[in-house]
Amino acid sequence: MEKKIRRFNTSKRGKQGADIMAAWDLSVTVEDLGPDTPPVSLSVTSDLHVGGVILKLVEKTQIKRDWSDHALWWEQKQCWLLRTAWSLEKYGIHADARLHFMPQHKPLKLGLPNGITLRLHACYSSPVFQTVMHICRMLNIRHPEELSLLRPIEEKKKKKDKDSTEEIYDLTEVPLSSASRPCLYNGMPAHFADSPQMEAVYKMLSVTQPPPAPEVIAKQYRPASVVDKAHINGRWLDSSRCLMQQGIQENDRLWLRFKYFTFYDIEPKYDVVRLTQLYEQARWAILLEDIDCTEEEMMLFGALQYHISKVSQSEPQMLSSSAAMDDLESALQSLEVKMEGESSSASEMLENMTAPELNDYLKIFRPKRLTLKGYKQYWFKFQDTSISYFKSKEESIGEPIQQINLKGCEVAPDVNMAAQKFLIRLLIPAPEGMNEVYLRCENEQQYAQWMAGCRLASKGKSLADNSYQSEIQSIHSFLAMQKTNSSSHGNAPANDESINTHSLVSPRYHKKYKAKQLTPRILDAYQNVAQLSLTDAVMRFIQVWQALPDFGLSYIVVRFKGSRKDEVLGIAPNRLIRIDLGVGDVVKTWRYNNMKQWNVNWDIRQMAIEFEGNVNIAFSCVTADCKIVHEFIGGYIFMSTRSREKSDVLNEELFHKLTGGHEAL
C-alpha cells in the first residue's frame, strides 16, 4: 500500500484545521457480506483518515480474515481511496458518499493471443500499465510494456450453446507475488510447477496451438477494411487508469495483446511464453487478414505453421539444437563404423565416404525437345548432386547417356494421388537457359526418395546429408495430406498426418483453392523451412510477418485540421502515416525522430504535432479517444528509449509521463 505522503497545496480547502469536528455517519458497502446486505454505517469525523475508517469497518463486520488486499472504492467519483493516511476531508468525502469496501485484486477473464481464456486475479486498482505488468509476471512474459488490454469484440450472440462450453484455464489460485521476477523451477515459474494442472496451463502458454479448423477461422470476425481495423484500436484500455475506472467488473473478459510492435530483445531461452504468444498473435493476424500479404507469402506462412505444429508435437520444449554439431556427430559416427571395417587405403576410404546412391528405372520426358516421343524409360542413378541415366541396368557401368547436375535447379512436384501420377518437374540451369526435364515415378515410395534427393541436390546437398530422411518423411506426410483431403473434407484436424491445408491459410484461399490444390503449393514453400528447429521456425514466422510492408501499423480514423473528410492515421513504431481513404494510398509520412513536440488539447480532443522544418499537423480522432492515439505515440517513443543495460528495470514513470493524460502526473 502507498505509504508516501506528498506535500501539496491545500489552497482549495483553506479551512483545514478547523477546531470543531462533528461526527457524521458514513455508509460503506462491504462486498464480502454479499450483495443483499445493507451498507455498514460508521460514525466518523472528517479528520479521520482512511486507514481509520477501514479499521472501524473491519471491527464492525466482526469477520476474522485477511483484509490486507481490501480498499475503499468511491462510487460517485470513480476512484479508489488508496492513501490511507489521508483524512476524509482531504479526500472531500461527505456523508453522501457511496463507498464500497472490496478487494483490489479480483478475477478477470483474460483472452490470450492463442485464443485460450485464462481466469486470474488482476489488480483492479492500479493503472492498467501496472496490472499488465503483474499479469505478464505471472505468465512469465518479459517486456510487459509491449502488451496491453483490449476490450474484446462483441461476439454475435447467435449460438449461446457454443460459448458455454469454452474451456477456461484457472489461475486464480496463484499467489500474488511481489518478486520482480518469479523464480524458475524446471524452466517455468515456480507457481506453475505446483501441480499437474498448473503444468498443463504452462504448457498451453508455452506451446503453440494446433492449426485451427477452417470453420473456426471462417467464423471469426475479420476486419474488411482499414476503417474496420481502426475501430479495433478504439478498444484499447487506458494504461494510466485502473480497470475499475474503466468500467471493468469482476469476471469481465479482456484480451491481452501485443500492442506496440517493437519486440525488444527477444531471447528464445527466456521468452518461451512471450515468443509463443507473439507467434499466435501473428498467426491470427495472417489468418484473419488483419495484415495483407501476397499469395506467395501466405503459402510460406502456411508452410511455417505446418512445420511448427509438426515439430512442436515431437519437440515438447522449445530447444534449439545445433545443426552443426549434429552434422559432425553423424559424420563421425558413420566414419567410425567404416573405420572398424576393412578399409585399408585412402582411395577405399574415399569410396566409403561417398554418398549413398539411388538406382532405379524411371521415365523421363523433355517437353522442350521437339521429339514427340513422350516418356521413355531408362535406368537412373542418383549420385552426389547429379542424376545420370543409362539404357538399362546392365549398361550402367559405362558412360551414361546424359548426366544432369541438379545444383541450383528448380524442383516442382506434380502429383495426383487419385490418378497415381508422381511427377518431378525439374528446371535445370545451363549456360543457354533453363532446361525442362520431367521425371516420372511409379509409386509413392519411389517418388518420395527421388523427390527428396532432387530437393537436396538443388540446394547443393547430397543424399548423405542428414536431412535426407526427414525430407522423405515430409514428402510422405504431404502426400498423406493430399490423400485425406481428397477422400474426406471439412474434418477437424486430428493429428499431424491429416492437417487440412485450409487450416493454414486465410478464408480468401479457402474459396480460391481446394485443399488438395493448396497442398503442393504449401509443400513447395515448406522445402525451404523444413529443416528449421521449432524456435527458428517460430522466429522465421515472426520475421516474415515483420517484413510485410504494412507490419506494425495501427490505424485510427482522424479528421485533419482544415480537412473536410475523414482520413486514416497509421501509427507505426517509427513513423506516422496519413492514408487517403478514397484511394487507399499513403499520402504523407512523418518520422518520430523528426518530431519536436506533440500536444493534446484535452478540451477539444485534438492532437497537434510539430516536426522539424516547421511542419505542423493537427487532427481530431474519430474512431478512438485521443488518449489512445496519444498513448500510442508516447508509447512508441518510450519503447525507443529502452536500452540493453537497463532492460531489467522498467521505467514506469517515464512511460506515464510520455503517455499519460489527466491522471498520469
Partner: protein, 571 residues
C-alpha cells in the same frame, strides 16, 4: 582476363608461372597425401582393440606416427582419452579428406589501370578474403568501395560480387570459351545504402531534405532496417519497363518490391497485397546491371537491370530484363533487391569492410595524418549529428553533461531512437476533477521539482525541444513557471521519487562506438588460408588456367604433369 580455360591452354602459360604454381601444388598435395596416409594408418591400428568395450590399449604403434602423441600412461580414464584421441584423429582425417578434394582456380583479376593480377582461389574462400588478398598485393587505400566484379560481355552485364559470396562457385559456371572477366574496382553503389540510407529508405522525400539529413538520423535508419529482428526492405514501387519474354518490345508495369520477391499489379487490379502477382523470387537469381541496352535491346533508356540464374550465360527467355527511367531508380531497385536477397549479410559485409578500411586508414595516418577514412561516413562520426540546442532553452546549456556522454544513448544498438531525441510529451491539462490525487494537478508540474533535486543531472538532454505549450485551456490558467531546470522528458534512469530505494548510480561512461573500438585491433579474419597461394606470378597477357576439378586431386595433377613435360620437351 579469363579464368577458366580448357586444359590445352596450359601450353600458353609461361614457364616460370607454371613452375611456381606447380611447385606449390605438388608440395601441397604431397603433404596432404602423406598426412592422410599416416592418419589412416594410425587410425586403423587401434581400431580392432578399441571396438566396443575397449580395454586399455598399448597404443604405442599408433602413437609413433601420429602428430599428437597420446599420453602413454593416462591414469584416470583411458577410455575417455582414447575416445577423444580417436575423435580428434577422425576429425583431422576428415579435414584432410576435404582438403584433398578442394577445388582451386587460378583467377586473373583485371585492375583499374588495365594491368592484371593472378591469384589462386580455393573454393572455401569468400570474396572478402580474396579482396584482402588483393589489398595486400596492390597497396590500394582499402576503402569499402573496393569490389570484385564480374562482367559478361556477351550479355552486356556486370555485377559486384558480395563479400560473403564464395568466388569459385560462380566462376565455375562460366563457359570454357567465356569472355567474362573479373575486375577489381571501386564501386560506390556497393555500400551506398549504408552511407546514405535515406536515399533508399526515404526515397519518396524530396531530394533537398535528403541531402540535409543528419548523421544521427542516418544511423537510426540503419538501426531500424538492419538491426531489428527482421531486415526491412525499402518500400519500392513504381512503373518499370519489362522486356517481354522472347520479344523485342518493352512493356510498362507497376512493380513492387517486397522481402519475398518482386511483384506487379495486374491490369485493372488494385495495389493491395492480395492482388499482386509474383514476378519473381530471389532464391535462384542474381541481379546484374545491364550496359548499353538501348542499342542492344532497344530499351527505352540505358538504365537497365537484369535478373537471371547465375548459370545462364547466353541469351535466354529465362533472363528477365527491366528498364528504369533514370539511374537513381535503377540503383534503388538493384540495391533493394540485394537487401531482399542477402539480408543481414550485406550489413555484416559492410561492417567488416569498414573495419578493414579503418585499420588501413590508421596505417595511412601514420604517414599522412590528414587523410582520414576516405569514403566512410561511418556511424563513428557522431558529434556533428547532434542538433544545436533549441534556442529557447539557453539556460540549460550550463547543465549539459560533458560531451562524450551525449553519445551514450545513441550507441546502444537496439533502440531505434536516441533519448536525446525525445519530443516532450504534452502536459496534462490542468483540470482538477479528481479528488484522488489533488496535488498532482496543481499548476506547477511536480516532475520539475523531483528531478531538479536529484544529484546526477539527466544525461543526454542536450537537444531537448522547448517545453510544450499548453493546449487550448492554458490561457485561463497561470502559465508554468519559467523554471530553467524544468526538463520535460525524464532521464533514462528510472527515478522513483517517493520510493525508499536509493537513487540509481549514474550511468556508466558510454562504450566507445563499435567501429571506433575496432580500429586499433587487427583485422578480424586472419588471412591464413590465403597464404598458400603462390607468389603473384608476373603479369602476363595470356589467359590463365583452371586447376582442379571437384572429383579428386589426381586429375589435375596428371594434367599439369603432362603439360609440364610437353613444355619441357619443346625446349
Amino acid at each position: 582476363m579469363i579464368v577458366i580455360q580448357p586444359p590445352e591452354s596450359l601450353h600458353e602459360l609461361e614457364d616460370n608461372d607454371l613452375d611456381a604454381l606447380m611447385a606449390d601444388l605438388v608440395a601441397d598435395l604431397n603433404a596432404t597425401e602423406e598426412k592422410l596416409a599416416a592418419e589412416i594408418k594410425g587410425l586403423k591400428t587401434p581400431s580392432p582393440t578399441t571396438s566396443d568395450l575397449p580395454p586399455p590399449t598399448p597404443a604405442s604403434s599408433a602413437a609413433s606416427s601420429l602428430p599428437p602423441p597420446p599420453p602413454q600412461n593416462a591414469k584416470p580414464t583411458k577410455e575417455e582419452i582414447e575416445a577423444q584421441m580417436k575423435a580428434d584423429k577422425i576429425k583431422l582425417a576428415l579435414e584432410k579428406l576435404k582438403e584433398a578434394k578442394v577445388k582451386k582456380l587460378v583467377v586473373k583479376v583485371l585492375m583499374n589501370d588495365g594491368s592484371s593480377k593472378t591469384l589462386m582461389v580455393d573454393e572455401r574462400q569468400n570474396v572478402r578474403e580474396v579482396l584482402d588478398n588483393l589489398f595486400e598485393k596492390t597497396h590500394c587505400d582499402c576503402n569499402v568501395d573496393w569490389s570484385l566484379c564480374e562482367t559478361n560481355p556477351e550479355l552486356q552485364l556486370d555485377r559486384t560480387f558480395e563479400d560473403h559470396e564464395n568466388l569459385v562457385e560462380p566462376l565455375s559456371a562460366w563457359m570454357r570459351d567465356s569472355e567474362n572477366q573479373v575486375l577489381f574496382q571501386e564501386r560506390g553503389e556497393k555500400y551506398e545504402v549504408f552511407k546514405n540510407p535515406q536515399n533508399f529508405y526515404l526515397w519518396k522525400k524530396d531530394k533537398r531534405a535528403l541531402k540535409d539529413i543528419k548523421d544521427k538520423d542516418k544511423e537510426i535508419l540503419i538501426q531500424e532496417n538492419f538491426c531489428g529482428t527482421s531486415i526491412i526492405v525499402p518500400d519500392l514501387e513504381g512503373v518499370l519497363h519489362l522486356k517481354e519474354d522472347g520479344k523485342k518490345s518493352w512493356k510498362q508495369r507497376l512493380f513492387q518490391l517486397r522481402a519475398s520477391g518482386i511483384y506487379y499489379v495486374p491490369k485493372g487490379k488494385t495495389k493491395s497485397s492480395r492482388d499482386l502477382v509474383c514476378f519473381l523470387q530471389f532464391d535462384n537469381v542474381n541481379v546484374y546491371y545491364g550496359k548499353d541496352f538501348k542499342t542492344k535491346y532497344k530499351a527505352p533508356t540505358d538504365f537497365c537491370f537484369v535478373l537471371k540464374h547465375p548459370q545462364i550465360q547466353k541469351e535466354s527467355q529465362y533472363i528477365k530484363y527491366l528498364c528504369c527511367d533514370d539511374a537513381r531508380t535503377m540503383n534503388l531497385w538493384v540495391t533493394g533487391i540485394r537487401i531482399a536477397k542477402y539480408g543481414v549479410s550485406l550489413y555484416e559485409n559492410y561492417k567488416t569492410a569498414e573495419k578493414k578500411a579503418a585499420v588501413n586508414s590508421v596505417w595511412m595516418n601514420r604517414s599522412t595524418p590528414s587523410s582520414s577514412n576516405p569514403s566512410t561516413p561511418s556511424p563513428t562520426i557522431k558529434d556533428p549529428a547532434f542538433p544545436p540546442p533549441p534556442p529557447s532553452l539557453p539556460a540549460k546549456s550550463s547543465s549539459r553533461p560533458v560531451a562524450p556522454q551525449h553519445k551514450l544513448p545513441a550507441n546502444f544498438p537496439p533502440p531505434p531512437m536516441a533519448m536525446d531525441n525525445l519530443p516532450p510529451p504534452p502536459l496534462p491539462p490542468p483540470i482538477d476533477d479528481s479528488p484522488e490525487a489533488p496535488p498532482d494537478f496543481l499548476p506547477p508540474p511536480p516532475p520539475a521539482a523531483g528531478f531538479g533535486s536529484l544529484p546526477p543531472p539527466p544525461l543526454s538532454m542536450n537537444s531537448l525541444p522547448p517545453p510544450p505549450h499548453f493546449g487550448g485551456m492554458d490561457q485561463s490558467l497561470p502559465p508554468p513557471p519559467p523554471d530553467p531546470e524544468f526538463l520535460p522528458p525524464p532521464p533514462p534512469e528510472p527515478v522513483f521519487t517517493g520510493a525508499g530505494a536509493p537513487p540509481p548510480p549514474p550511468p556508466p561512461p558510454p562504450p566507445p562506438p563499435a567501429q571506433a573500438a575496432a580500429v586499433p585491433r587487427a583485422p578480424v579474419r586472419p588471412s591464413g588460408s590465403v597464404r598458400k597461394v603462390p607468389p603473384a606470378p608476373p603479369k602476363r597477357t595470356t589467359p590463365s588456367l583452371q586447376v582442379g576439378g571437384g572429383g579428386g586431386g589426381g586429375d589435375f595433377m596428371s594434367e599439369l604433369m603432362v603439360a609440364m613435360q610437353k613444355k619441357r620437351g619443346d625446349h
